[in-house]
């Protein structure tokens, strides 16, 4: 089973601060890591290969910090990794990201399964899996919370709003997973040390046969006009005192606000 797992390097969302006056997010110095559901996708791939044999290739597009970030994917059990850190790729949107990833997947070679998270933890647009499947001419099975192999294909349980939908599909196929599918492992120290020896390749736009004009910000389909924290005007009243007192104060306040009936 040849599996490619696509991962996105994102800022640690808990560590983003907001400038009080301008409401701008501060991203400088915020550590980068892989999205939660990307790790679920990787975990699933590693479990499949542990059972069925084969190879897991981790694939990620992002800043040069990926050279560090990707080590976690290798430590978690990917057999090899490809990172796409060409400065020409910077500012890519879902259109150019899918284009670049598709080229890289074709260069990686024959595959049975492409695994992604259902969305990235930062923007959650969920576009890349669908776009990738379209470019590669693959069927797609999204929102998967359970996966098993059958003769010549796989059976997946999709987590839809009202129902679980069980589907069957032949390989090769692109699958996106939800966080319910598994609990990603924490790499052990030995695995982290071994990760350093695993094959890691770094490909540029040129390596993928793409010109700088076809990728990155210029070729992106979106323009971001503003990106600010939503205005939240809250009262920020802290109620202090013994339990009985604060409960009384709270009930008084909520009654005044007209949000509880007394």
């Amino acid at each position: 089973m040849q599996i490619v797992v696509c991962l996105k390097q994102i800022p640690d969302l808990q560590q983003i601060r907001i400038k009080r006056d301008s409401r701008e997010p501060v991203l400088e110095g915020v550590p980068l890591l892989f999205g939660d559901m990307d790790k679920n996708a990787l975990e699933e791939a590693v479990r499949i290969v542990e059972k069925e044999g084969g190879k897991v290739t981790a694939l990620a597009l992002g800043s040069p910090k990926l050279r560090d970030t990707i080590k976690e994917a290798l430590a978690m059990g990917a057999d090899e990794a490809v990172i796409l850190t060409d400065p020409a790729f910077q500012g890519s949107d879902t259109v150019t990201t899918a284009k670049i990833l598709a080229k890289a997947i074709e260069k990686i070679g024959p595959y049975d399964l492409i695994l992604c998270g259902e969305g990235s933890t930062d923007n959650y647009s969920g576009q890349v899996p669908s776009r990738l499947a379209e470019i590669l001419g693959l069927p797609q099975v999204t929102y998967v919370r359970q996966l098993e192999f059958t003769e010549g294909g796989l059976r997946a349980t999709r987590d839809m709003e009202e129902a679980l939908e069980i589907v069957e599909v032949p390989l090769p196929v692109l699958v996106s997973v939800t966080s319910e599918i598994n609990e990603p492992r924490l790499a052990s120290m030995i695995q982290i040390l071994r990760a350093a020896k695993k094959p890691l390749q770094e490909w540029s736009a040129e390596d993928l046969g793409l010109s700088a004009a076809e990728v990155g910000k210029e070729a992106s389909s979106l323009e971001i006009i503003s990106n600010l924290a939503p205005e939240q005007e809250r009262k920020n009243v802290t109620l202090e005192g013994e339990v009985d007192e604060v409960v009384e104060q709270l009930i008084d306040a909520l009654t005044r606000e007209g949000v509880i009936a007394r």
Binding site: R131, P139, L254
Partner: protein, 317 residues
Amino acid sequence: MAEILVFSEKDEIAFELLSKGRELKEGLGLGLAAALLGQEVEGRSGQYFSYGAEKVYLGESTLLADFYVEIYAQALQRMAEEGGAQILLLGSTKRGKELASRVAQKLGAGCITEAIDLRLEGGGLVADRYALGGNTVASQVIKTERKVIAVMPKTFEALPLEAGKGQTVRLELELPEPRVRVVERRAKEGEAVDIEEAETLVCIGRGLGAEEDLGMIWELAAALGAEVGCTKSPASDYGWLSEERIVGLSGKKCNPRLYLGIGISGQIQHTVGILGSKIIVAINKDPQAPIFKIADYGIVGDLYEVVPRLAERLTTP
């Protein structure tokens, strides 16, 4: 005339989008059309006219009886090309999101999913969506000629017209057999609960120590006439509550008049779902918990003392 094309697998969402489309088409000088896809759909076209569709494309095929995104994307692409659609408005349901992305790729279009607002600014169409895990709201413009936008359900109000009529256009679609096959559909275990509709919402997080402690939370909710929601962990990791009760990025977005967060630290993945609350109350023993920053009223204290006392005071006159 070039047009705005509306589609959702859920009629009520399509009606919301048509209602907004009526406003947008004036500013953009476009027509307003809707797509109906399925095995037999013609009967529904009248309702679509009554929400403002001037034209309804009918795509009827046994291959459209089940929602297969590849096939639906192909049918929708055909309709977009037939009428020269410049803007496709879809519902940002799970199916709508994957369809929007796949049809956008077919059309060479830029796409925005999970839009929470749409407006015309300087003659262009601007969409807002949450970014950076809900830390920010990004206002975005799509630069490609064709634009695909999936809008969150209930973003716009569905407003029927007094009288509406239009033209139906039946398209002969050449569709392939789906490669994916649904073998079973199973209703989700759990309950029919709609926390998005709750006027008062009590939410719990990791601060609640054990499943048994839910008892006092339900008592408080009963005293307030509230629904109970939660962060991701109590539902997904511990299974104490059904997943329909998760509030936040991976769950529901709620706009209650009163929200009470109990033992919730206030991670952005949860709080993005409560920003529309009129009043936010937080009870947490950690004074540094980020939830206090977005709270109107905060109690730094032990929830095991505060919650029972609050419930008691609310039930005894």
